[in-house]
C-alpha cells in the first residue's frame, strides 16, 4: 500500500511500513517507546507512542496501520502531558536507586525521564519488595525495576523460542516470572542474555564478575592471562563514542595491559584450532556417513538448548570445545610446565560478547584434568566498565599487538563473531589453496546471505555438501523441527543462539536506540579482508601447536569429555 499522510503539518509518503510509528520515525521524528521492538510482535503496552489525529482522537501509533490521507500530530500539549504522566506512573512503581544501578546511563527509562524533564514523582511505591534472582551465572533479575513492558518475554519466546519468562498474576500484582516462580537457573534458560539486551531498565542485567578480575589482577602471586573473543573488538568502541563496528582490538589490548593483565591473547587463535578439529571431525563423519549433519558447538546457549530441547540430536553436536574452552585449555597446559609458570598461579580470564560463556566455563565436560580451564569469563560490557573504572579513554589509546606465543589468529577466526563465520572458516579450511578467486567464491556461496536461516550447497571433491547456517534459537527450532520431520537434509548446520551471531551477543554493549548488527558484522569482514592469513591451517602458531603441545593432546585439550 502506498499513500500520503500529514504528520505535524508536513506531508509524508509511506509505502510498506507496517504501522504509523514506522512512518513517523522514517520521517525523522523521534517518538519514545518502551515496548516497541521492530523485530518482534507489536505489544502496545507502554502507550508512549500515542499520537493525536485532527479530531483530537488519540491512538497508539505502533498498533495502527498507515492509511492514505491520515492527519496526525506527534507532540501536542495533550500528548506531552500524557507521556509525562505515563513515565511518572512507571517511575512510581520502579525501584529508583539509579546511582547504584548497573544500567545507569544506558537505561531507556532514565533517559526518557531526563528528556521529559521529570523532576518529581507524585506517586508512592506500595509494591512489596521482590527478591533479586542471582541464581544464574549469566544474568541477574531484579523485578523491583521491571516496568512490565514485556520485551524480555517476547525476546525469550519469539527470538529464542524458549518462553522461559512470562507474565504471571494480574493487575497490580502482575509480575514477569518463570514457571512456578523458580529461580532462573532452574528453568530451561540457556543464558543467552537476549532478555538483558532488550530490557529497557536495570531489571535484567549481566551477572558481573568484574570484581573477581580486579582481585586476580591485584594479587602479585597471580599471572592474569586474558583472551579476547572476535566479536568483542567491533563492539567495545561503540561504548566509547566511536562509529558502530569500528575494530578496536589494538586499543583493547593496550587498555588491558595498562589495567594490569599480564598477557593478552586473541581467541581467534583457538577459533583456528576449532576449525582444524571441526573440519577433521566433519570429514570423518562424512566418510563414515555417521552422525550427520554435524552441528557446531561454539555457542554454549545453543549447545544447552539442543541438549535440553532436542536430546535426540546430542550425537550430532560436534565434540569440539568452544574457542573459549580450547584457548583456556591451551593456556593452562602451557603454564602447567613449571618453567613457564615461574612459580606463579595462572588465572585465565576470557572476554566474551556472551553471557552464556559464564555458564559454559562451569561445565565439567570442558574441564581438563578435572580442573576448570577458564577461571573467569567477563563480557565486553564488563570490559567497558573496567576500562571506564580505570579512567582510560579508549579512543586516546594507541593500538598494541597481542602477546606471544598465543597472540595470532587468522581472518577465518575473526569472522567467527558473525553468523556464518564458522562455516565460512570451515569451507576455507577445506579449500585447496588461498587464491583470491577461491576466497571470494566461498564468501559468495550463500554463507553471508542476509537471512536468519541460510541454506546453500557447495561442491567438495565428488560430492555436494548441503549446509544450513542459522542464528536465533527460535529459527534453530524451525530448522530442527524440519530436520526431525525429514523435510530437509543437511551435512553441516551452524547455529548461533543470537540473531546475527556473537556480534549481537547478550554481553555486548547496548547503545540506546541503535541496532549495530550490520555495522559490527561488516567490521569483522573488514578486519578479515585485511588479514594475510585467512585460512586456519596457514596460521604458523597453529602449525607450531600441532607439532608441539597438541601432538598427543589434541583430543584431551580440544574436545569435551562426556564420560563423567
Amino acid at each position: 500500500m502506498m499513500g500520503v499522510m500529514t504528520i505535524n503539518g508536513r506531508r509524508v509518503t509511506f509505502t510498506d511500513e507496517k504501522n504509523v510509528l514506522s512512518v513517523i520515525r522514517k520521517a525523522g521524528i523521534s517518538i519514545p517507546t518502551l515496548c516497541y521492538l521492530s523485530e518482534m510482535s507489536t505489544f502496545g503496552a507502554c502507550r508512549l507512542c500515542m499520537v493525536e489525529n485532527e479530531r483530537g482522537k488519540m491512538f497508539a501509533s505502533c498498533s495502527e496501520v498507515p492509511k492514505d490521507g491520515m492527519t496526525i500530530f506527534t507532540n501536542t500539549k495533550r500528548l506531552q502531558k500524557y507521556r509525562k504522566m505515563i513515565i511518572q506512573l512507571l517511575l512510581g512503581s520502579h525501584d529508583r536507586d539509579c546511582t547504584t544501578c548497573a544500567q545507569s546511563g544506558d537505561c531507556r527509562l532514565q533517559d526518557l525521564a531526563r528528556k521529559m524533564n521529570i523532576t518529581d514523582v507524585p506517586y508512592q511505591d506500595t509494591r512489596e519488595r521482590r527478591e533479586i534472582d542471582v541464581s544464574s551465572p549469566s544474568i541477574v533479575r531484579n523485578m523491583n525495576k521491571c516496568i512490565l513492558c514485556g520485551d524480555c518475554v517476547r525476546a525469550c519466546s519469539e527470538l529464542q523460542g524458549l518462553g522461559v519468562l512470562e507474565f504471571t498474576r494480574r493487575g497490580a500484582d502482575a509480575l514477569v516470572s518463570t514457571a512456578f516462580d523458580r529461580p532462573i537457573a532452574e528453568t530451561a534458560c540457556v543464558g543467552c542474555g537476549q532478555c538483558r539486551v532488550y530490557c529497557p531498565t536495570g531489571a535484567i542485567t549481566i551477572h558481573s564478575n568484574v570484581d573477581d578480575v580486579w582481585d586476580a589482577i591485584g594479587d602479585p602471586n597471580i599471572r592474569v592471562v586474558a583472551q579476547v573473543a572476535p566479536a568483542v573488538r567491533v563492539a567495545v568502541g561503540d561504548a566509547f563514542g566511536m562509529k558502530d563496528g569500528t575494530g578496536v582490538m589494538g586499543m583493547i589490548v593496550n587498555a588491558m595491559h595498562r589495567m594490569g593483565f599480564d598477557e593478552v591473547y586473541d581467541t581467534t587463535l583457538s577459533a583456528d584450532l576449532t576449525i582444524m578439529e571441526e573440519a577433521n571431525e566433519f570429514l570423518e563423519r562424512l566418510s563414515k556417513g555417521e552422525d550427520l549433519p554435524l552441528m557446531t558447538s561454539c555457542c554454549p546457549a545453543w549447545v544447552k538448548f539442543c541438549h535440553d530441547q532436542y536430546p535426540e540430536f546430542d550425537r550430532n553436536v560436534s565434540t569440539c570445545r568452544s574457542p573459549q574452552g580450547m584457548m583456556s585449555a591451551v593456556l593452562k597446559e602451557y603454564y602447567r610446565d613449571p618453567e613457564n609458570a615461574g612459580g606463579k598461579k595462572t588465572v585465565v580470564v576470557s572476554v566474551m560478547p556472551c553471557t552464556a560463556k559464564k555458564m559454559e566455563i562451569r561445565w565439567k565436560r570442558n574441564y581438563t584434568k578435572g580442573q576448570k580451564d577458564t577461571d573467569i569469563s567477563i563480557t565486553s560490557t564488563e570490559l567497558v566498565n573496567m576500562i571506564r573504572d580505570f579512567g582510560l579513554d579508549l579512543q586516546m589509546l594507541d593500538p598494541e599487538a597481542c602477546d606471544m606465543p598465543f597472540g595470532l589468529g587468522s581472518g577465518g577466526g575473526v569472522i567467527f563473531g558473525a553468523s556464518g563465520g564458522v562455516t565460512e572458516a570451515v569451507l576455507r579450511r577445506l579449500a585447496p589453496n588461498h587464491s583470491k578467486q577461491l576466497m571470494d567464491n566461498i564468501a559468495d556461496c550463500g554463507v553471508r546471505e542476509k537471512k536468519w536461516i541460510r541454506e546453500f550447497s557447495i561442491d567438495y571433491k565428488d560430492r555436494r555438501l548441503n549446509i544450513c547456517v542459522v542464528s536465533g534459537l527460535a529459527n534453530a527450532r524451525t530448522v530442527l523441527d524440519k530436520l526431525k520431520a525429514g523435510e530437509v537434509h543437511y551435512d553441516l548446520i551452524e547455529v548461533m543462539a543470537c540473531r546475527g551471531g556473537c556480534v549481537m551477543g547478550g554481553g555486548q554493549p547496548v547503545i540506546l536506540g541503535r541496532t549495530p548488527r550490520e555495522a559490527r558484522t561488516a567490521g569483522l569482514y573488514r578486519i578479515d579482508n585485511n588479514e594475510t592469513v585467512r585460512k586456519c591451517d596457514e596460521n604458523p602458531l597453529v602449525q607450531n601447536l600441532y607439532k608441539g603441545m597438541l601432538k598427543d593432546k589434541a583430543h584431551e585439550l580440544l574436545h569435551v569429555h562426556t564420560e563423567e
Binding site: 518462553g163 519468562l165 512470562e166 507474565f167 504471571t168 498474576r169 494480574r170 516470572s177 514457571a179 512456578f180
Partner: protein, 159 residues
C-alpha cells in the same frame, strides 16, 4: 509425585478438548473440578502435552483467581464481598467464619482439610445479599450467626 490416576485424568481431559494450546483453560477447569484444585505438577504435564510452555501455563493459572495450586477443603465456602454484600455487612459474616474456623486473610484452609474459606467479588445474587456459596450452593441473606450455624451443621457439631 502425584498418583498415576491424576495423570490419567489429565489425559482424559486433554483427549476431550483436543491436544492443542487452546485447550489449556478447559483442561485446567476440568482437572480442578475433579480434584478441587490444580496440582502444579499436573499443570506442567498438561502444558507439555498440549504444546504450551510451562511458564505460559503458569501465567494463565495465576491470572485467574479461580485456579488454585493449593488443595481445597471438603467444603469450599465462597463469601461474597461484592458491592451489595459489602453494604449489607458481608464483612461481618466473613470475620465470624474466620474466627469460627481459625482462618485468616492468608490462611484459607483448615488443617483438617474440611473447610476452605475464600472471599469473592460477586456471586451474581446481589438481591440476596449478603450471600455465601458452599460447594456451589448459594445461601442467601447470611448473618454472622446463621453462617456459623451452617458451618457447625456441616461439621456435624451437635451444639
Amino acid at each position: 509425585m502425584l498418583e498415576r490416576s491424576c495423570y490419567d485424568l489429565a489425559d482424559r481431559c486433554i483427549e476431550k478438548h483436543g491436544k492443542k494450546p487452546a485447550s489449556l483453560i478447559p483442561v485446567m477447569e476440568d482437572i480442578q473440578d475433579e480434584l478441587r484444585y490444580l496440582p502444579g505438577e499436573l499443570l506442567s504435564y498438561v502444558a507439555k502435552q498440549i504444546g504450551v510452555t510451562e511458564a505460559d501455563a503458569y501465567g494463565v493459572a495465576t491470572f485467574y483467581e479461580n485456579f488454585s495450586f493449593e488443595p481445597k477443603g471438603k467444603y469450599e465456602i465462597k463469601c461474597c464481598d461484592g458491592t451489595a454484600c459489602h453494604v449489607k455487612k458481608g464483612i461481618a459474616v466473613i470475620e465470624a467464619l474466620q474466627k469460627e474456623l481459625g482462618l485468616s486473610k492468608d490462611k484459607h484452609t483448615t488443617d483438617d482439610m474440611q473447610f476452605t474459606l475464600e472471599t469473592v467479588s460477586c456471586l451474581g445474587a446481589c438481591g440476596l445479599a449478603p450471600t455465601m456459596m458452599v460447594n456451589g450452593k448459594v445461601h442467601p441473606r447470611m448473618t454472622p450467626d446463621t453462617a456459623v450455624a451452617l458451618v457447625r451443621e456441616l461439621r456435624g457439631d451437635n451444639t
